[in-house]
Amino acid sequence: MCLAVPGKIKSIEHLYDGKVRMAKISFGGIIKEASLEMLPDADVDNYVLVHVGVAISKVDEEEAQKTFKYLEEIGELGELEDVHDYLPKKDE
């Protein structure tokens, strides 16, 4: 039910005297319409997450990389912790 899918905004149009911003969004080539009323800053070429016809979040491209680097990062942190285990304590 909470399924939401990221897609790229291809175009934006204003309906009902400009009150409603609707976007055409490409999901891997399949185009569907979604409301942008909850993302006033979203623009063409942005990736947005769409749930039941409403865009609810803009994808943060920098954060999107973190899942790929997390293991490396905790590996490095782990090594640092290990090094500290071998170093003499300050008051020793």
Partner: protein, 364 residues
Amino acid sequence: MKYMSEYRDPELAKQYLQEIKNTVTQPWSIMEVCGGQTHSLVKNGIIEMLPKEVTMIHGPGCPVCVTPLRLIDKAIHIALKENVILCSFGDMLRVPGSEINLLEAKAKGGDVRILYSPLEAVKIAEDNPDKEVVFFAVGFETTAPANALSVIHAHRRGLKNYSILVSHVLVPPAIKAVINDEESKIDGFLAAGHVCTIMGNSEYYPLSKDYNVPIVVTGFEPLDVLQGILMVLRQLEHNKAQVENQYARIVREEGNPNAQEMIYEVFKIQNQVWRGIGEIPESGYGIKQKYADYDATKKFNINIEEAPENPDCISGQIMKGIKKPFECPQFGKKCKPTNPLGAPMVSSEGACAAYYHFSGLVEA
């Protein structure tokens, strides 16, 4: 698809699994609250690949499953009225009511339609001024802004023939109810990423602190779920209980303030009955007086008695994580997706349906 397929990389998944194995030193139980995560865990075979110390407990995060029986009966009753078009999400149609389901109501002549978005229902109301259009609006916080928006659109366009039948549930009170249940023993939680996309993370800090449990806001792809599990385990193994955000590419700390504004324009928080679980205080949304004309329960003013649940269905224990689907004597026998005894066998996010389709426990 970008921002989806990269999070399904099998090589990195193996590395995550290895790191999970390296991290765990003792048994832990982790609940994934959201049915979408249950689906991902079972479908991708992650449960079998986790080390035996890690038990995943499937939470109540399937809105279709927790929609009260009485409300489903009410929807069926409305659908069978003359001049009514009843619309909802596809999953709702096969959920058993006390006698029939909505799909059978359609076969009996009711105008029942499956929609992708509540905004489509408003369009149907506009195109059919001589009919009453009712949207059966179920969901967690994720879906609330869209359902609220449909009411706002109808109001703006002056439509008098649109209303919603609401069954909205909220995650934080459910987590609290699960922790407080004497039978459940959960060490940490994966919080539902798309719920937090709307509401942000602030509601989870007091929960994590008061109950001393790690809560990691987590996404839905295999790598997301694996990373979420690893983050919970690292906290548990280091005796920490914090809120972390695995799904920061989508979830902002404050959530989506515009969406929250939309929700509180139309809805107010109220006590809510969860099918299989019971009433949980302040765990749902009802329609504010200002929009009472769009409330289907007021418009159709029907009194439906609470019907008894099927005594063979143990969905309450399944959704509180006390029992696994295959521990139910009816699982795969009397109860199948084609003939569900309870809602968790219907929805793709229901734990029973996920186990039926993907776990290999039932011969096809």
